[in-house]
């Protein structure tokens, strides 16, 4: 019961905080219903239009390194969510939650990032934002 109520509250909060994205591309390639949580090390962070780009390396169970790429929002919207160009630095150890692409490639759209100092930056999207 408590979990359901908290979930409902979380949805309300996400809706209230959401502002639209720089709609650049379709989102049909994403599995928006799925979330993957990844711990990795930042290799590149581009604060840019149409969407900021985060690249990070994730060590898999067998020790191999998987190079992930994930899109955030555009800077005009990101600042509304508390982000800046300097929120993330190369070498940071972060935990990233993404909506992955459907084809299984290590690519996705950022839901949130937990920074080394424990702060969480959100990047929630709504259908109104993405135009779908």
């Amino acid at each position: 019961m408590r979990r359901k109520l908290l979930g409902a509250l979380a949805l309300v909060v996400m809706a209230l905080f959401s502002v639209p994205v720089f709609a650049h591309h379709g989102s049909a390639g994403l599995d928006s219903s799925k979330k993957v949580v990844l711990k990795g090390v930042v290799t590149e962070w581009r604060w840019q239009n149409p969407h900021s780009i985060l690249k990070f390396d994730v060590k898999s169970d067998d020790g191999t390194i998987v190079h992930w790429s994930a899109e955030a929002n555009n800077p005009a919207d990101m600042v509304e969510r508390g982000w800046t160009a300097h929120s993330i630095k190369v070498g940071d150890e972060i935990t990233v939650t993404v909506n992955p692409v459907k084809n299984g490639a290590p690519v996705g759209r950022i839901v949130q990032v937990v920074l080394p100092d424990g702060r969480t930056l959100g990047n929630s999207y709504t259908s109104a934002e993405t135009g779908h």
Binding site: G29, Q48, K55, N103, G131
Partner: protein, 287 residues
């Protein structure tokens, strides 16, 4: 148990809204915005003056218009279908948009000139990413500063609209006349149309024969509505309304539209390439 849960939700809601208010207050301080909820009723509109920084009254989401022009979204409803001519339908079919009923997938099938970082041109500039828009007014002209791409155009106040212009251009040739104290009617001709520029995100066409009318009506000091009518005999069989009294609100004079807080929305080819190489390419979207 249920009572405890409700109390918990109430507390969380209280904390959440407190946090939101703090965040909003911080943003207001950063942006120079003031708290509109504390304002007294708006003063009357000044005469013959639409200068200032304006934003969609319903929030920035209303101005993005990702699924087509605000009054006629491309949602499949018959009442939202513009009156295409045969030439208009042919041009529409040639356009491969990323949004609307005819959205293509994967994205690299799209031929939207916007994705090449071409200028949006007019009137598409009115129908895409309207977040903050500044009007700088003199006796001679009103300069419209669009946030997207940091583009601008002039609305001339001191002359008549010519029957035609010698050369077309991305943002056309605009002349404005005051219909009354608080209503400015702007006619625009001579802009690049098909095939270089689209009307909106969903690939609706516009031709260089079109005349576009914008009607800015300032109801009071802090609010204005904006109507845009498309008259394009080549692409459409009759004029139609693309934005219908779209509500805009006035931002404070010191709003930090181009300053340290607000971010640029520039389409840089190198950024587009980086994005497509990392995220938006075939790897992202292949089935």
């Amino acid at each position: 148990m249920r009572r405890h849960s409700l109390v918990l939700v109430g507390l969380l809601a209280f904390v959440t809204f407190g946090f939101m208010e703090a965040a909003r207050s911080q943003r207001s301080q950063q942006s120079g915005a003031t708290d509109n909820t504390q304002k007294a009723p708006s003063a009357p509109a000044p005469s013959h003056d639409i200068s200032g920084i304006w934003s969609p009254a319903r929030g920035p989401g209303a101005g993005i218009q990702a699924n087509g022009v605000a009054a006629m979204p491309d949602d499949g409803k018959p009442e939202h279908t513009p009156p295409y001519s045969a030439a208009g339908l042919k041009a529409l079919q040639a356009h491969k948009p990323l949004y609307g009923q005819r959205a293509v997938f994967p994205s690299n099938l799209s031929n939207d000139p916007r994705d090449e970082c071409d200028p949006l041109g007019f009137p598409r500039a009115d129908f895409y990413q309207i977040r903050y828009e500044q009007f700088v007014q003199t006796d001679r002209e009103i300069v419209v500063l669009y946030e997207y791409e940091k583009r601008w155009r002039s609305i001339w106040l001191d002359r008549e609209l010519p029957k035609e212009v010698p050369d077309t251009r991305w943002y056309g040739y605009s002349v404005g006349k005051w219909a009354d104290d608080n209503t400015l009617v702007v006619q625009t001709i001579g802009f690049n149309g098909e095939p270089r520029a689209w009307l909106d995100e969903t690939g609706r066409p516009i031709s260089d024969e079109a005349k576009v009318e914008e009607r800015f009506h300032r109801g009071d000091h802090d609010s204005m509505d904006w109507t845009v009518t498309i008259d394009d005999p080549q692409m459409y069989t009759k004029p139609w309304v693309a934005m219908n009294k779209f509500p805009m609100k006035l931002e404070p004079k010191d709003f930090d539209i181009w300053g340290t807080y607000q971010q640029e929305m520039i389409c840089a080819p190198s950024d587009i390439k980086a994005y497509n190489d990392s995220i938006g390419g075939s790897e992202y979207e292949s089935k």
